[in-house]
Symmetry: C2
Subunit: 185 residues, 2 copies
């Protein structure tokens, strides 16, 4: 059976990065490990906050699959719905979130454009709101990593469900079971 669900024949009909990870398990391993550490590993940032950064950057990169999956994961971390995520994506500067998260989202937005767009003032603003060096480090790397995942998913023309509801179960799994088993599930 021949599948034509992406620009290349990946021998499966799984959506987004899931299909690519089944096609190339060697690269899937470090890609999953990185996501697990950054989004669910020990951190003074909550997993909800980190998934919000991931989802927001993915939205700015126009990656429907990633922003939907990680928005759903963020919602599951806070037992909430997608309204907060939509607010952040529409304009995080006016959304009801902590001043620290707002300053970190500002850094993430700069990283999404290009690394050298981040200024010392952006960093100082986050530190003024209590962000630690490690929190700033991880915010930059989360934003940078999603500039990779998003390009990987869209650059190979993978398919993605349109409606939000299709991502709810994936979001629950990512939030509560993690990234370690995503290519064998």
């Amino acid at each position: 059976m021949l599948f034509a669900m992406a620009y290349i024949n990946i021998n499966n009909d799984l959506p987004g990065i899931v299909g690519l990870m089944h096609y190339r398990p060697e690269t899937a391993k470090p890609l999953n490990e990185l996501a697990e550490i950054l989004l669910r590993g020990p951190s003074t940032l909550s997993s909800a906050e980190r998934e919000m950064i991931a989802s927001h950057v993915s939205y700015r990169n126009e990656c429907h699959f990633c922003h939907s999956c990680h928005g759903a994961a963020a919602a599951h971390h806070i037992d909430g719905d997608l309204d907060l995520l939509r607010d952040i994506k529409n304009n995080f500067k006016t959304t009801s979130i902590s001043a620290k998260l707002r300053a970190l989202l500002n850094i993430a937005e700069k990283v999404q454009i290009l690394g050298n767009k981040v200024t010392p003032d952006d960093i100082d603003a986050a530190k003024d709101e209590g962000a630690t060096d490690l929190e700033i480090h991880d915010t930059v790397l989360i934003a940078a990593a999603f500039c990779m995942y998003n390009r990987y998913v869209d650059g190979l023309g993978t398919w993605a469900p349109v409606e939000d509801a299709a991502y709810d179960e994936t979001g629950r799994m990512l939030a509560h079971e993690g990234y370690g088993n995503s290519i064998t599930d």
Copy 2:
């Protein structure tokens, strides 16, 4: 002793991604594994070709540290100098390289802009020049990965030597010893 070599205190004075990897070894591990597989793992693309793609994308992302390191690595793989790399960066469409590599660089340039800029015509052009599905997959993921590494390096304001000569030994090590030991060297 306090170092101020980046936007955050990384407790060392090492340049570019090397200093960040010493600061955060947990994330360094999958970052190095991914680079090792993509640039030096088994492939029908030569390591020189893959380092050329990495260096070219890094140049387009204005990341001096990364484009210099990976340009030097590419040169070491072919026992050559940096002239070919400079030609590629100036205009790969007229450089004397294989038609297949030219078509893959075209895909990498689209990925550098955004994943959804890659078109079916870009993919077909690479296939017409003999590129396999796996070569196209790895080209997209190399380009995407360097959109991450570049943003990580510049988003945290790391320092980098200016002159090409400073990258020669690093390029030799990356080409011939690889990415596995880069945080413990």
